[in-house]
């Protein structure tokens, strides 16, 4: 016995009755109350077989192990750096997780990462008390130079990246900007000033219309109009465009030949 009261992919609010009866199971952000299943957060209803979950549309970033984020160095400690993660918790980047290079005890750590530097880092550990360790050792993890940084709703990051990075590649190819999207909602861009602005406007547009269908076509048309360039064909299996980017030695796929 069970009845779904709300259509899939509809917006539900906290406390909204999603299903009646015992057939359905409460999964992420839903809960059972008596015979009913209720929403425990604002978001889109997703039905996975019998499991009902909510895809959040809003909410600040919650650090998760293995997420690749863009962080900012906010303090230099004895054996590492404190990194801001755009969440309620800062992270620690210890010297041994920062580089395979040998760093002597008396080294000036600011020579590696200085206050205000942006980094692409991977979260390697989150304790129950939300103490976080990050690492910059690994493919694509590094300090970022130049460019600018914007803050988006972290729940929209999957849409901004797109399936296998297709959406962000579309933007990169049309604007010629290098773009790295952190899971924490921080996005780094670097290109010519006017193209950066177009890329940012596009990203903000995706952020606003993320849960609307037909978005890819809309964005393609939008970029064509703004860039007056034909955007390159969307790459298919381009794992390079995920937030785990390859290091700077191999520039981001970019057919416009910018700087």
């Amino acid at each position: 016995m069970g009845k779904l009261l709300v259509e899939e992919r509809k917006v539900v609010v906290p406390g909204e009755h999603i299903a009646e009866g015992m057939d359905y199971l409460p999964a992420q952000w839903t809960y059972r109350k008596g015979d009913n299943i209720l929403a425990g957060r604002l978001g889109l209803l997703a039905v996975n077989g019998r499991a009902l979950k909510i895809i959040p549309l809003s909410g600040t970033y919650t650090p998760k192990k293995d997420d690749v984020i863009i962080g900012k160095v906010i303090d230099v400690a004895m054996s590492g750096w404190r990194v801001e993660t755009n969440s309620a918790y800062s992270a620690m980047l210890s010297v041994r997780d920062a580089t395979s290079e040998f760093i002597s005890r008396n080294a000036d750590l600011t020579k590696f990462f200085d206050l205000g530097d942006y980094l692409v880092a991977k979260i390697v550990k989150v304790t129950s008390q939300k103490l976080i360790d990050v690492s910059t050792k690994g493919p694509g993890l590094r300090k970022l130079y130049g460019g600018r940084v914007i803050n988006v709703n972290c729940n929209k990051v999957p849409r901004i990246i797109g399936k296998q990075g297709s959406m962000v590649s579309l933007i990169k190819n049309s604007t010629g900007c290098k773009i790295i999207v952190g899971q924490n909602g921080i996005i780094w861009l670097s290109g010519s000033p006017d193209q950066e602005v177009i890329a940012i406007e596009t990203i903000k547009k995706i952020e606003k219309e993320a849960h609307v269908s037909g978005l890819t076509e809309k964005i393609t048309a939008y970029l064509e109009k703004k860039c007056k360039n034909k955007p390159a064909v969307m790459p298919e299996e381009d794992s390079e465009e995920n937030s785990e980017e390859k290091p700077a030695a191999k520039p981001a796929a970019n057919k416009k030949g910018e700087q």
Partner: protein, 235 residues
């Protein structure tokens, strides 16, 4: 029981006209606007975010911090000196208690969810309007929430039970039976009341009846809050 016709012509159980919106303050993680009659409240939610100083942190859970404030020109009479007076501090506290039951902040140890409520104009029912706006703001902010919370004042004016007292009714001096002003906050899914205060005189029977009227009114307000949230996200 002489107060049979309400001063503004409303029916006993009728609330004033409500306008509600979500996402009105861009900088905030979530925000809400709630206007009921001539009482207007803005609410902004920031968080979960880092909490300082360290001594107020709670390692077992995130905390909710509510702050209610009236803009100096929002009172019915002369200008009110800015800054939180004792009344505002008390309202901040009961607002927090009204919202806490629907929240579970255990996943955010040492962090805080800050709720700021500002009134731009008031005509009674300001703490209730604040709670309604705050509830929209918390949901908009994606804070895990079991339910929305609605709030309204109920009471009796010269013996007649009414819902959503305005300033004139609160200050009603005619008749023999006096005024009772009872702000409540209500959580529909549990059918429980999370804010309850009272000024005035009332019998127990009338109180219970008034509370039931309040619950009904709150259910209606919830639909308005729900609509405001859905409107923001439906393009």
């Amino acid at each position: 029981m002489a107060y049979t016709k309400r001063l503004d012509g409303r029916k006993q159980k009728e609330c004033r006209e409500i306008v509600a919106q979500a996402g009105v303050i861009k900088n905030a993680d979530g925000s809400g606007y709630f206007k009921i009659g001539n009482t207007v409240a803005y609410a902004a939610v920031y968080g979960p975010r880092a909490l300082f100083p360290k001594r107020v942190q709670d390692p077992s859970t995130g905390i909710l911090r509510c702050n209610y404030n009236m803009m100096p020109f929002s009172g019915m009479g002369s200008r009110v000196r800015p800054g939180q007076n004792r009344r505002a501090k008390e309202i901040s506290m009961v607002t927090e208690k009204a919202l806490l039951p629907v929240l579970d902040l255990k996943e955010y140890p040492n962090a805080v969810v800050d709720v700021f409520i500002e009134l731009t104009q008031t005509d009674a029912g300001s703490r209730c309007a604040g709670i309604c706006a705050a509830s929209i703001a918390l949901a908009d902010a994606g804070v895990p929430m079991k339910d929305l919370v609605a709030a309204i004042s109920v009471g009796s004016v010269d013996g007649t039970l009414v819902v959503d007292l305005d300033y004139q009714e609160e200050a009603y001096e005619e008749g023999e039976e006096g005024v009772a002003d009872i702000p409540i906050a209500y959580i529909p899914s549990t059918q429980k009341i999370s804010l309850l205060q009272m000024d005035g005189e009332i019998t127990k029977e009338k109180l219970i009846e008034a509370l039931e009227m309040g619950k009904e009114a709150c259910e209606e307000i919830i639909t308005v809050q729900k609509k405001a949230l859905k409107e923001k996200y439906n393009l």
